[in-house]
Symmetry: D2
C-alpha cells in the first residue's frame, strides 16, 4: 500500500441534509492528516469530465449547518450508464467508466471518497477492478440502508414532516376533514412511520404493505363513532393499494425515473366514495423534505462520519464504507451496502408501538 | 341603548392562526368590563342549534399561542343556507336565520361577536334586521379584505410558505430542476407574492393575472443561459392559464366547494413539453399553511383586535367591525367588509419590487 | 404474582420534552391491556398526599407534541426528605415514605410507574421494601444515565441550543466578538458537546474537564492570526476553571439547589483581560432548553418507552426500568440506573471528532 | 444634478436580520438602472481606509434569506470619532471624515447609500458639507426610529424572543418558578412589549418606565392567590428600578459601550427576598436575537426598501432616507431620523391591550 496523498470527493444521488457536515468533517480532518482533497462536482460528473476542483478547509468552514452540498449532487452521472444522444438525437446511455479511471490516474488521485446511497456505492464498487480505490459514506434520506443503523438526513426529513402533521391537526379538527399528507419514501416507509407516529397520525400507509382502502375508511368511521370527527393520514409516496401497480421500478435508468407522485391523490380519490361525509384534502410535501438546514442530530452524525472517512483513508482502507453500529462509527465492506435495503416490517417495534396507540396501517397484520 | 351584559362569540369560516389570540383578548377584556361571554361553537352552529357553552377568562388563558380555535370554526353553518337532506335524502339547504334570532332572544344575548371572513360578515349583517346586534372581527388568511389593512393569520401562512421555498433551493439547484410550490390563495395572491418574494422564487403566478405558460418557459430558459440551471415557481392555488377556467366559483354553496387543487400540477403538465431538459417537481402545501402556532405578529394583532372588540361592545357599538388602519385599531361599518376584496394589482409596490429583482409573473404587465 | 389492574403514574424531577409522549404511549397501551391508570400529580406529591387523579386515554390524546407534563413534575416531593417547617418555622425535612405506601395500599394500586431521573429512580427503589412495586422510565435532559443509551428530551435541548449557536455566528463575525453561550449540563456536558459541534463552536467547555482560561485565550488569538476575527464558545452551566469550585453539590437537599448560573459570566470575566481586543457577550439559555414541543426523535422514543413500560407492567415486571440498548427497548434492573452516570470522556468519539475539526476544549488531553 | 453612475454601499451599526435583503434589492435594482455599486466593508471602515470592494448582482443573489450582512457591519468605524492609539498607547479617537470625502472623490463615487441606525444616519448627515451625497436606509432592531413606521429586523427579534417565552411556560408551571427572560432594548422596550404580549408574559418591564420591584412581587403573589403558581417576566436589557442608574449613556464612545447586561440578574436579586417561596431563574437571550434568517416580513420589507433606495438614487435624491409610512415606502429628509426616537408610552395601544389582559408593568400608570 502506498500512502494516500490526494483524494477526490463526490456527493452522489439526491441531496440530503448533512452532506455538507460530512464534507466539513472529511476535508478538515484529511487536511490535518496531510491529505489533499479535490472535488468531483455533481457526483461522478467531475471524474467523468476530468475536471476536478480544489476543496480545502477554508471552503468547508461553516457549511455544516447548510442544506444541499457545496460540491453539487447528481443522480445522472452514472459512469456505467451515462446519458448521451445518439446519431438520431435519441437519448441513450453509454459506459464511460474508463474515463473515471483515466481521470484518477491522470490527476494522481489515490482514492475516491464517495458520499452517496445504494446506487453510488454500487457504481463505486464496480470501479474497483479499474483500479479506483475508494471509501464510502452512506447517504439516504429514507434511512433504508441495511449496512448502517442510521443515515444522516433522515432525522431532518422526519422533523419537517412531523411539523407539517402537527400543523394540520387544528384545521382538520375544525372542519370534519380527512387530511392526507404525502411524504417521501419510495420503497421504505421509515419517514412516514416516524413522522406519522410523532405527529399523531391516525392512519399510516407504507410502501411495504399494500393498503386496503376499505380498512382505512373503516378506521375513519370508527373514529367518527368515538366523536373524533376528523382523521389524519400520512402516506409514503411509494405506497400502493392491494393489487395496485408501482409507478417506478428499480431498473429504470438513473436520472430518468418518472415522477412517482400521486400516492396521496390516488388514495384521496378512492376514499372519496367511502367517506362521503368528509371533505378530503391532500398535502404533498415533496422535495421540501430534502432541503433546509439539517437538525443537530444529522450534523453531528455527518461530521463524525466525515472525520471517520478521513481516518479510514489515512490508514489505507479501500473498498469500505463508514457505518454507525450500536452508537459507534465503524467500517464495513462497501459491498455490504449494495442492494441490501432495510424495510419496515410488521414486527418492527415502531410499528408495534404505533398499533399499540391505535394507528391503522390499512393492512391486516 | 341598553348596556350590554351578555354576548355570544363565534369563529366562522376556515381557521387561521391568531383566532385564539382574538378570543383571549376579547374574553379577558369583556370579563373585566363586566360582560359575560358564551360560545357559539363551530361558527353559527351553536346559535342555530340553540346550544351555547360557557366561555370565561380561565378557558382562554394561555391559548394565544395555539393554532385553530378553541370554540371551533365552521364554514358550513350558514344561517341563510343551512345544509339538510330533503325527503328523498338529497342534500339541499334551508334558511334557519330565525333560529339564530330565537336563540339570541331566548338566551338573553345582547350582541354577537363574529370573528370571520367576508362570508361570516355577510351573514352577520343580514341578521341585523332580525334584531341581532353584532360586532365583527375580520379574519382571512389570504389578507384580501378591503376593510382592514392586514388580517391576522396571513403573516403566519407567509412565514411557513417562505420556509418551504427556502428549503427547496438546495435540492432544486442540485438537480437541474424546476420546482413548483403551490400555496393558498383562491382569488387573491398575497401569500404567493410575499412568500415568493421572501423566498427568492424566480416565477410567481397569481390568481389576479392569467398566466402565459410560454413566458414562464422563456424565463426558465433565460435563467439557464445565465448559468442558473434551476428555477423555483410559487403559484397560488387559484391561478389559471390564459383562457383557462377556474375550478370554483363564488356562488357554489358554502361548505361544498369542490377541491380546487391542481394549479401546480396543471402548470407542471403544460411546462413539461416546453422545458424538457428539466425534471419538474410539485409541492402542494395545502392546509398545513392554516395550522400551527401563530407568529408573534399575528398574536399581537389578534389580541389587540380582541380587546378592541370587547371595548366596542362595552361602548354600545353595533354593526361595526374592528379594523387596522395605518397602525391603529379603529372600527368601520361591517357592511364595508362585505364583498369588497383587495386584490394584487400590477402597480402594487410589492409586485414592482419583485419585478425589480427579476421575478417573472407569467404575464405582460 | 397477582395480575396488575391499577397503577399510579408520576413524572418526577425537572421537566423534559417527551414526558407527555411517554404518558400518551403508557396510558393508551395500559388501557388497551385492561390496566387502569391514576396520576400522582407533581411527582410523588400525589402519592404523599393521598390524592390521585384519573388518567385515561382521552386525557392523553394529542399530548405527545406538547412540552411539559400534563400531570406536573416536581423535584421537591421526595418521600424520604419531604420539606416541612419545624416548630420555629425553620425549613427542615422529614421521611414521609410510609404515607406513599399507605396511599398505594389504600387506593389498591398494584404498581407505580415512575418517569424520572436518577433521583426519582433512587426514591422509587427505596420504596420497594415498603411493598411498593414499580416500573421506571428514565428521564434526563442531560442524557447522562448509564443505564440507557439515550434519553428523550436531550435531542430537543440540543436542537434548540444548536439553533441559538447558529444565530450567533453572523453577529459575532460582524463585530469582532467573543460570544459565550451557556447551556444546560451540571455534571455532564453532552448538550454543550453536541450543540457546540453541530453549531460550529470554536471552543467547548464541559463540566468533566476543568478549563484553563489561558488555553481558551490562546485559541482565540490563534483564530485571529488566521483571519478569524471572532470566536464562539459553548459552555456547560456546570463548567469550572482549573481549581475552581463548583457552586452546587449532590447532597444539597432536592428542590433547594442554589442557582448555579454564572459559568458563562465567570468565563467572560476571566477572559476579559486576556483578549482585550474583543468585546465579549454572554447568552444564558437557561430553562428555555427544557420547554417547547419535543422534536420527532424524542416523541418517537417517548411513545416507545411508554408502550414498553405498559407492557412490562402487564407481564408482571417489578423493579425494572425500560431502556434503549442498541436501538431496541429492553428492561434493566432499576438499581442499574441509580448513581451511575455517563459522563463525557476524553476518548469519546464525539470529542475526538470535535478536536479533529479544530475545536478547543480548554484542557490538554 | 449630475446623473448617478457609481455608488458606495455600507451597513453600519449592529447587525439586524434583513440587511442582506436590503442589499439584494438595492444592488439588483441599481444594476438594472445602470448604476455601479461598490461596498464599503464594515460600515464606514472601507470609505475611511479607501478600499472599496466590488458588489454586483451575482454577489447578492440568494442572500435575502441570510442573517448578518455580506459586506460586514461595524459600530466602530465612526468617521468623526475613529479609534486610534496615541503616542503612549492609550486609546483615543480622531476625526477622519476628510478621508471619507477623499475616497469618495478619488473613487468617483457619486453617492453613498448608508444602511444603518440613528448613529449611522447622524454620521452620514454630517458628511454632507464635505461633499458626500447620500441616501439612507433605516435599520434598528429595536424599532425605535421615529422617521419610519417599522424597521426590518424587529419582527425577527420579536419572533425569536416570543418562541423563547413560549418554551419557558411548561417548565415554569411545573416547578413553581419565577422565570425572567431578558431581551434586547436599551432605550426602547418594543421587543419586550411585543414578545411579552405574544408569549403570554405576566410581567413586562421596559426601559421607558422605572420599575417598582414591590409591584412586581405583588403581581406574583396575586397570581399565586388565584392558583397560578408561577410567573413569567420579560425584561428589556435597559430596564432599571426606580431611582436606579443606567449602566450606559449615549455619549460613551461608539464601539466601547460597556456591556449593559444584568437587568435580568438585578431584578432576580431584588425579587429573591420578596418572593422567597419561588425559585427564580434567569435567561439572557443576548445577541442570539440579532442573528439567524430573517422572518418573511423583514425580508419583504428589506427588499422593498433596497429597491426604493436604488430608485431614489436614480432619480437624483440626496440627503433622504427611505421610510415606511402607512404601508407605503416614501422618502423623508435624513435629518428627520437623527436623534428622534420613538419610545413606548403609557398610552400606546399595545400597552393598553397588555394591561387589558392583565399584564403588570411594574409601574403605576
Amino acid at each position: 500500500m502506498t500512502s494516500v496523498r490526494r483524494i477526490a470527493v463526490l456527493t452522489g444521488g439526491g441531496d440530503a441534509p448533512g452532506l455538507n457536515a460530512v464534507l466539513f468533517g472529511l476535508v478538515t480532518r484529511a487536511e490535518a492528516l496531510g491529505i489533499q482533497c479535490l472535488a468531483s462536482e455533481d457526483g461522478y460528473e467531475g471524474l467523468i469530465k476530468g475536471t476536478l476542483t480544489p476543496l480545502d478547509s477554508t471552503r468547508v468552514r461553516g457549511i455544516a449547518s447548510q442544506g444541499g452540498s457545496v460540491i453539487g449532487c447528481s443522480n445522472r452521472a452514472n459512469p456505467f450508464s451515462y446519458p448521451r444522444r445518439d446519431a438520431e438525437g435519441k437519448l441513450t446511455t453509454e459506459d464511460v467508466s474508463e474515463r473515471v479511471a483515466w481521470t484518477v490516474r491522470n490527476e494522481n488521485i489515490d482514492l475516491v471518497v464517495a458520499i452517496g446511497g445504494d446506487g453510488t456505492m454500487a457504481m463505486t464498487s464496480r470501479l474497483a477492478p479499474l483500479g479506483v480505490r475508494s471509501v464510502g459514506v452512506p447517504k439516504t434520506i429514507d434511512n433504508d440502508l441495511a449496512a448502517t443503523d442510521v443515515t444522516f438526513g433522515f432525522q431532518s426529513a422526519v422533523d419537517f414532516a412531523t411539523m407539517a402533521v402537527d400543523r394540520i391537526h387544528t384545521t382538520a379538527a375544525a372542519h370534519d376533514r380527512v387530511m392526507i399528507i404525502e411524504v417521501m419514501g419510495r420503497y421504505a416507509g421509515w419517514i412516514a412511520l416516524e413522522a406519522g407516529l410523532a405527529g399523531g397520525a391516525n392512519v399510516i400507509v407504507l410502501p411495504e404493505f399494500e393498503y386496503d382502502v376499505q380498512r382505512i375508511a373503516d378506521a375513519i368511521h370508527a373514529r367518527r363513532k368515538q366523536g373524533q370527527n376528523y382523521s389524519i393520514i400520512v402516506i409514503s409516496e411509494g405506497a400502493k393499494p392491494v393489487g395496485g401497480t408501482h409507478a417506478i421500478t428499480k431498473d429504470m435508468p438513473a436520472g430518468h425515473l418518472p415522477k412517482l407522485g400521486g400516492a396521496g391523490d390516488r388514495l384521496a380519490k378512492s376514499l372519496e366514495q367511502l367517506v362521503p361525509e368528509h371533505e378530503i384534502r391532500v398535502t404533498v410535501l415533496g422535495h421540501v423534505q430534502r432541503g433546509g438546514s439539517p437538525v443537530a442530530f444529522d450534523r453531528v452524525l455527518g461530521i463524525r462520519m466525515g472525520v471517520a472517512a478521513a481516518e479510514a483513508v489515512a490508514r489505507g482502507d479501500d473498498g469500505v464504507m463508514v457505518s454507525l453500529r450500536d452508537g459507534k462509527i465503524v467500517t464495513v465492506p462497501m459491498g455490504d451496502a449494495v442492494g441490501k435495503n432495510r424495510n419496515v416490517t410488521a414486527l418492527d417495534e415502531r410499528v408495534l408501538a404505533a398499533r399499540a396507540v391505535g394507528v391503522e396501517f390499512g393492512v391486516e397484520f
